[in-house]
Amino acid sequence: MGNHLFHNIGKLSLFILKRDRIRILIWIIGIVFFTLIVPPALAELYPTQQDRDAFAITMENPAMVAMAGQADTSHYTIGVMTAHEMLLFTALVVGLMSILLVNRHTRSDEEDGRVEMLRSLPVGRLSNMNASLLVLTITNIVLAFVTAIGLFALGIESMDLQGSLLYGALLGGTGIFFAALTAVFAQISENARGTFGFSIAFLLLLYLVRAIGDVSNEALSWISPLGWVTKAQVYGENNWWLLLLLIVVSFILMVVANYLYAIRDLGSGLIRAKSGRKYASWFLQSPAGLALRLMRNGIIGWAIGMFVLGASYGSVMGDLDSFFSGSEMLSQMVLDAEGEFSVIEQFIPMLMVVIAITATISPVLSMLKLYGEEKKNHIEHLIVRAVSRPKLMVTFLIISFVNAFIMLSLAAIGFWSAGAASVEGGLDFGMIYTAAIAHFPAIVCMISIAALLVGFLPRFSSFVWLYVFYSFIVLYLGGLFHFPDWVGKLSPFGYISQLPIEDVNIVAEIVLLVLSIAIMIIAVVTYNKRDIQG
């Protein structure tokens, strides 16, 4: 019976490979490149074991464990260091790749009617989905080997063949896991947006479960496959059986996806759409109402995510405090000369940068939605009615600002409420909130750049993500790599002062806002002048 279900799966796989060869190549090259530049840089920056041990101690505190996971800091070789700093983070990127590619070939293709076309040909009922999974599995295996060989070929002493193979295999394994997971969600949700939303939310959830588990409850970490990635102790114990676990779970997910795919109708999901409203509510009857309605689920999802992110950082504050107060030597290492600020206060700026850049994603998505809607021929329905283009763009700008404000505020509230509960003597809400909201002008700046691209170079509007990514890299890894100052200053986030250990730089904040307003004016003017595509 298998034959009629999987008929022509080979040809379909080749077809998918043909459609996506450039896309897949770029992902693989990007991920491998990113992985391979790190160990030599670390070897140069931390040449002696003494340097590395000193660095290892700063990585042992709960805030860092929450972010990067646990590691064997007693044997902190370049290999262990690379795995600790990069493996989990890269695994998230590989997961994202799998989610995007699988969704593209399962739900997206189904929603756009392409699967229907294929199904009318002599193609097995389960062929399309399994062809996508096959392509993704091969992609991830290739990625695993290229990464492994590349790492080993760097010739760094502590990075042996076995460790390098496991490193690559864990990346590939994570990719296969998320491919299978997305395939399951593609059966449950009725549309591509939902599939992407569920999959990404699950990815973040697994990350957070691991973070909380690593800091406070060992058992919790074992639930999350992302926890397994760090527990494999690459370049140390090399626990291969965790890779095996990852593969087994992926296989089970694939079987589940196949079962669900086999029992449902084409075009439907397991979660059925209910019949909707016959009339529009008063809320929907304006461009702003429409825009908010379209973004509603995304914004709610991000809002919950930001609160949880803030809360999970906040919840480690108590541990952080006791961790440092337990050791005289440690506190001397991190504390400033005058002892003016507490350990917590010194860690807040770094955590806030991560929070702020994460909080940038949702508002930038809101802004780019203006162009996304245009490409779908939806904007024409608005501007052929009594809605002017400036009004439309300003509506999206305002929504993005409010969005940014909400994201920052919720993260700060989450941080404070969890932090106040865990730290002896509580936390000052004003201090936390100011440290978060100080980043607002930098986010506004990012939004205005997104708007400018929508107005001026719409086809390249997603390039704003490169800038967001750049900001994240230079500010998150800046300390690790000792980048020169100007590298950080190329990002608007580089101008925000490190609250609470520095004072607010009002001038910088105002300059950023004024600059943003200028950019926004150009954005509106250019948007008003160009052809609407469709």
């Binding site: 019949s275 909707g276 409203r277 009339y279 529009a280 304006s286 021929n377 009594a386």
Partner: protein
């Protein structure tokens, strides 16, 4: 006063010239058929009229206002139905109709319910589940439920079934009866013939013919099939007869409409026993312009 007027509008996409000096005039209260093959430039012209695209050269006015600068003012009195109706997959048809009417500046009215009933649409379904025809119905209902003075319809019936096409034609006739102006782009010629007062034919970005249907019929030919008692001599050479086929006493051919009288007089002197005639259709005109475009030789009908 002309409701829509364009003067030499030209639109270039990079090196490609999509419109090359389009002149068009719609008078108040008339239904103007805008016909042409795929890719001729109908939608591009309409998108310029709607202020979505900026003309590379030339001027276009609606209600005497500039289509680019005064777009919002114009749009308050205009209703548009695109050829490809793409809607928000997670909104229902009813929500979209309300939104559209509201954005156009209209108010809720009884026509909405009446139109939903006539077009037989289920407004509680999400747009994701609608077929092309149903999405078109949503746009048509929103357009006819709004109180516009000008209706711009770009191939609005390409997904409708014959029953719904009929409803559509009734709706167009109703707005015409109210003295509204309609620009109907189409390649369904029977529809244009039924509805339009005047037509403009566009091809490769140029208007190649424009006028009332009667005027254009002058350029068309009537198809005749005849049988006579006696053979008709020299029928091949008779002026105004084209595309002749048959033999001896049975012929089928086309006649220039203005030569019809002469031809009939000549043939009837040989004793007509059978006569079938088919009226000139826009289709003939259309084909004459789009095919070889050879004015002397007619098409052969088998």
């Amino acid at each position: 006063m002309a409701v829509v007027q364009t003067k030499n509008i030209t639109k270039r996409f990079g090196a490609f010239t999509a419109l090359d000096g389009v002149n068009m005039e719609l008078n108040e209260g008339e239904i103007y058929g805008f016909i042409g093959p795929n890719g001729a430039g109908k939608s591009t012209t309409i998108r310029i009229l709607l202020g979505m695209l900026k003309a590379s050269a030339g001027e276009a006015q609606i209600f005497g206002k500039d289509v680019w600068k005064d777009a919002v003012e114009i749009h308050k009195r205009l209703a548009y139905v695109p050829g490809d109706v793409n809607l928000w997959p997670n909104l229902t048809g009813g929500e979209v109709i309300d939104l559209f009417v509201k954005l156009q500046g209209g108010t809720k009215n009884s026509r909405r319910e009446e139109l939903i009933e006539r077009f037989d649409l289920d407004p509680s379904k999400k747009c994701r589940t609608y077929s092309k025809g149903n999405r078109q119905k949503v746009a048509l209902i929103a357009a006819f439920a709004s109180e516009a003075d000008l209706y711009i319809l770009d191939e609005p019936t390409s997904g409708l079934d014959p029953l719904m096409e009929n409803v559509f034609q009734q709706c167009v006739n109703e707005v015409k009866a109210e003295g509204k102006t309609v620009l109907l782009s189409s390649h369904i010629l029977s529809e244009v013939e039924k509805l339009c007062d005047r037509v403009g034919i566009i091809r490769q970005g140029r208007i190649i013919e424009t006028g009332t249907l009667d005027e254009l019929r002058h350029l068309t030919r009537t198809k005749l099939v005849i049988e006579t008692k006696q053979p008709v001599p020299n029928i091949h050479e008779f002026a105004g007869i084209h595309g002749i086929s048959g033999e001896n006493r049975r012929w089928s051919f086309q006649v220039d409409t203005e030569k019809l009288d002469d031809v009939m007089k000549y043939i009837s002197s040989y004793g007509i026993t059978k006569l079938e005639s088919a009226p000139p259709t826009l289709e003939d005109l259309f084909m004459r312009h789009y095919e070889g475009n050879d004015p002397s030789g007619g098409r052969r009908n088998g």
